[in-house]
Structure formats: structure tokens, C-alpha cells
């Protein structure tokens, strides 16, 4: 059973307008697999960035590898620009505990020493377990702990957020 969420395309516009004007011509945009990459692709196109977009899969940096093992579907990370001294916007779909962002930052620093690193999230559902805050958000939402917020992309490329019951006790979002 899933329940619909505030209009996702509207949240995306809010996020884009928040970033516009706060981005330099050489700022790099990096999406976190999988939902964050979809959001980053939209941001990258709407903001007309000339720097090619990067992607990160945090599977090799997760803090629950010892408990859950390697995730089934690992995608190659790909950062096609020099991160040294460059401003970076890290993009995720749903910001929750902050553990994904911790992992993504650790991975990012294995590519070099970036300048300013900013976080953009389509939605912030609170519940942080680490001192991590977003610079740009589409909306702050309140969702019960037992529910999972997930992003889906349909055949036309449109994005849809929805909530569903959480399948397992530990999820890193």
C-alpha cells in the first residue's frame, strides 16, 4: 500500500529555484544512486550546468556492511571532473538519518579535496542521526518512522515520491 505525496514536480521546481543564483559556473553536481541521480539529472539540465554530472554509489562506504553485507545492485561511481578545490552540490532524493551523506562524503574525499560541499535533497524527513544539514531542500515533510519514503521514475521521466511501510528494521536513508 502506498500513499501519494506532495506533487513531486513542484518540489523539484522549488529545489531548482533555491539553487539557481547560488551556483558558480564551475560547480559540480553529483547525484547519489539511485533516486539522487534522477534528481541530479533534472537539476543539472534545468540549471544548464556546463560541468558534466557525477554519480556516486555508496555501497563500498556504507556503515552497515558488517551487518547486511554488500548490496545486490552496486553501480559504478563516476565523477568525470577534478573535484580538487571545486564547489560540489551532493544530491539525494530523501534526507533522513544522514548516514548515506556521511558515506557519500567519505567517497567524495577519495577523489580529492573539494572546495565547498553543499547538500541538496528533494525532501527532508527529519530523523537525523548525524550532524548533517542540507543547504537546499524541496520541502520538509513529517513521516512516521515506520514508513519509508521512496522515489520512482516513470517511463516519461517524471518523478513520483510516495510512502510505504518499512520492510526491515534498519534502513539507511
Amino acid at each position: 500500500m502506498t500513499t501519494p505525496f506532495p506533487d513531486t514536480e513542484k518540489l523539484l521546481n522549488t529545489l531548482i529555484e533555491g539553487i539557481r543564483g547560488n551556483i558558480k559556473p564551475d560547480t559540480g553536481i553529483i547525484g547519489i544512486h539511485t533516486g539522487g541521480v534522477w534528481v541530479a539529472e533534472r537539476l543539472h539540465a534545468a540549471l544548464g550546468s556546463k560541468v558534466p554530472m557525477g554519480t556516486i554509489d555508496i555501497a563500498f562506504y556504507r556503515d552497515d556492511y558488517g551487518r547486511r553485507g554488500l548490496h545486490g545492485d552496486v553501480k559504478p561511481s563516476d565523477i568525470p571532473f577534478d573535484v580538487n578545490d571545486r564547489d560540489i552540490i551532493l544530491v539525494d532524493d530523501v534526507l533522513y538519518t544522514g548516514r548515506t551523506i556521511r558515506a557519500a562524503m567519505n567517497e567524495l574525499f577519495d577523489y580529492g579535496r573539494p572546495g565547498c560541499v553543499m547538500l541538496a535533497a528533494l525532501v527532508d524527513r527529519g530523523g537525523r542521526q548525524l550532524p548533517i544539514e542540507p543547504r537546499f531542500v524541496g520541502a520538509q515533510v513529517s513521516v512516521p518512522d515506520e514508513e519509508l519514503v521512496s522515489l520512482r521514475r516513470d517511463d516519461s521521466g517524471a518523478l513520483h515520491l510516495s510512502t510505504e511501510p518499512r520492510p526491515t528494521a534498519h534502513d539507511q536513508s
Binding site: F60, L70, K75, N106
Partner: protein
């Protein structure tokens, strides 16, 4: 039928002992994961923290440079501590049994054993006797199996040829004594390769080789015709003269991969070799160093594939 000794009670990979008996999804999972590790090995900092705090013991009861080194690099890039033991020169020569050696190393809190042994089945024996959170990887045992070599070969084929079903693959050389060939044949058929051929003199072919689902050729021109992948095997020195083969020169004339013989294969065919090569015996230098050769990329991909295997196994504790 007894349970596959490589899988735990939930069907997950606990040890990598042979390709035989592994489902297609498991092989594909290793190959997919290895792709992500290739991107790690292309960065400035070629290390990820997955195996931090774990100890990997390289147990080589038989000499090897390439395989041991790439396992060591793979483990170090996963942030594991690596201990290399050339067991032939220590405990075993003092009379300690294999299982006593393993028990002692387990008492030193080993998390993973990478084992090469001249006896077929030695890694299986070790896997049956280690504790539940210790993983065993077969790095080549007797004439039985060399699963990580086969996986890195599959990774190389997929990298250059993109998918398996439409391919024709020829394995050339000493099929009889080769654990590499055995593992490759199982991997190729499991991944759905249309046509697997073996090419060798009759004296170097196992009697029941057709039961593995391969086509057998004793003539290079016929066997190589239109193939997409040519895998050359090393001819071991001790086989070069004696009852199986008249001489290395004779072997090269009939089965050595020269440009003329390679011309029978598809013009886009790739040439592979697990190393170490005998130039002028199984392969001509101009082919080994030629544009169709992917022998050095095989070595590079071997690191990523071994990182994938180790991280999948260590995650199942």
C-alpha cells in the same frame, strides 16, 4: 544430493571453491560488482573501507606470482590486513598437517583464507573445517578449479564483447591438465555462451570432455573458424617433451597461435591468456603483443574481480 559446500544455509556464497554448481545470478553478481571496483581502481585513492579490520591470509602451498600478488593488491585495496604465507617453506615442511595449520591461523583471528594447493580439493577440505565466519577462496587447486581466473576471464569477455549468448569461444591447449580450462568451461556454459570449443592434440584432451558441453577440435584452422574469443592455455614445461608431445617446436607448429592461425577467427576476435606465457610455444610474440591481445587488461581486471569476490564473501558473516 548434498548441499553445495560453497553456499550457506540461506543459499548465499560463503566460499568460492569452484564455478561448477554456481547459479548464473551468482556469476553475474560478481561481474556486476567488479565493474564498480574497476571505477575504484581508476581513482587517485584506490582504496575503499569495506574490509577494514579483517585479516586475509594468502596460503600458497604452490608457487604463484601473479595470482598471489593480485589477491594481495585486491585485499589491500579493500583495506584488509594481508598476511602472505609460503607454506611450502614453513610448517608443512616441519610435518604439520594442513588442518593444524588452518586451526592455528584461525586462532590468530583469520577472516579469510586464499588457498592455492597442488592437491585437488584442498580448499574444499579447509572450507569444511573453518568456523562459520571464516571464508575460503580457491586460488587454484590441482587439476580441479581456478574460479577467480575464470571469473576475470568472463569479466574480460563481457568488457570487450558486451554479452555472452551470441559468442563462439575457443580454448586452446593443454585441456587435460588445466584447472583454468575446467573453470572457464563451466563459467562459459553457465553464462549461456552459444558455442564453447576446445582445441588440443588428442593426448591433451580429457576422455569425457564432451560431457562438459563443448565441441572438440584437434585442428586449429577448423576450431578457430569465426570464433569471437581465443583463450590460449599455458603449456607446462614438464609436458613439452615426453609421451604426450614430441617437442615444443612441434607443438608451436600445430597449436601455437600465429597471425596466420588467428586469421581464421573473426576479424574482431580477442586473444586471452591466463599467464605466464611461453612465447614461441603456445603463442607467437606478434600475437601476444598485437592489437587483438587483451592479456594485460586481464591482469588489471583480475584485481577488481578479486575485490568483488572478497567483498561479497566477507559481507556474508
Amino acid at each position: 544430493m548434498s548441499r553445495n559446500p560453497q553456499l550457506d544455509s540461506s543459499g548465499r556464497l560463503a566460499h568460492l571453491l569452484s564455478i561448477e554448481g554456481l547459479p548464473r545470478e551468482t556469476l553475474v553478481h560478481v561481474l556486476d560488482t567488479a565493474r564498480s571496483f574497476v571505477s575504484v581502481t581508476e581513482r587517485d585513492i584506490k582504496k575503499v573501507p569495506l574490509l577494514r579490520g579483517k585479516s586475509v591470509f594468502n596460503l600458497f602451498f604452490e608457487p604463484s606470482t601473479r595470482t598471489r600478488t593480485t589477491f594481495e593488491i585486491a585485499a589491500k585495496r579493500l583495506s584488509a590486513d594481508v598476511i602472505n604465507l609460503n607454506v611450502g617453506s614453513s610448517s608443512q615442511s616441519k610435518g604439520e598437517t594442513l588442518l593444524d595449520t588452518i586451526a592455528n591461523l584461525s586462532a590468530m583471528h583469520a577472516d579469510m583464507f586464499v588457498v592455492r594447493h597442488s592437491q585437488s580439493g584442498a580448499p574444499n577440505l579447509i572450507a569444511r573445517h573453518v568456523g562459520p565466519n571464516i571464508h575460503v577462496i580457491n586460488a587454484g587447486d590441482g587439476r580441479h578449479a581456478h574460479p577467480t581466473q575464470a571469473l576475470l576471464d568472463m569479466f574480460t569477455i563481457r568488457h570487450y564483447k558486451h554479452d555472452f549468448p551470441g559468442l563462439r569461444v575457443a580454448i586452446v591447449g593443454d585441456i587435460l591438465h588445466s584447472r583454468v580450462a575446467r573453470s572457464q568451461i563451466h563459467a562459459l556454459t553457465t553464462l549461456g555462451v552459444a558455442e564453447v570449443r576446445v582445441i588440443a592434440p588428442a593426448t591433451l584432451l580429457p576422455a569425457a570432455v564432451t560431457r562438459l558441453g563443448v565441441q572438440v577440435f584437434t585442428d586449429m584452422a577448423k576450431g578457430l573458424k569465426d570464433v569471437d574469443v581465443v583463450i590460449m592455455l599455458r603449456l607446462q614445461n614438464e609436458r613439452m617433451s615426453g609421451e604426450l608431445l614430441p617437442s615444443a617446436q612441434e607443438y608451436f607448429k600445430n597449436y601455437g597461435l600465429s597471425p596466420e592461425k588467428l586469421a581464421h577467427a573473426d576479424s574482431q576476435a580477442i586473444v586471452m591468456h591466463p599467464g605466464p606465457m611461453n612465447r614461441g610455444v603456445e603463442i607467437d610474440s606478434s600475437v601476444a603483443d598485437g592489437t587483438q591481445s587483451v592479456i594485460l587488461p586481464q591482469v588489471t581486471f583480475g584485481i577488481a574481480v578479486r575485490m568483488a569476490v572478497m567483498s561479497i564473501l566477507a559481507g556474508q558473516s
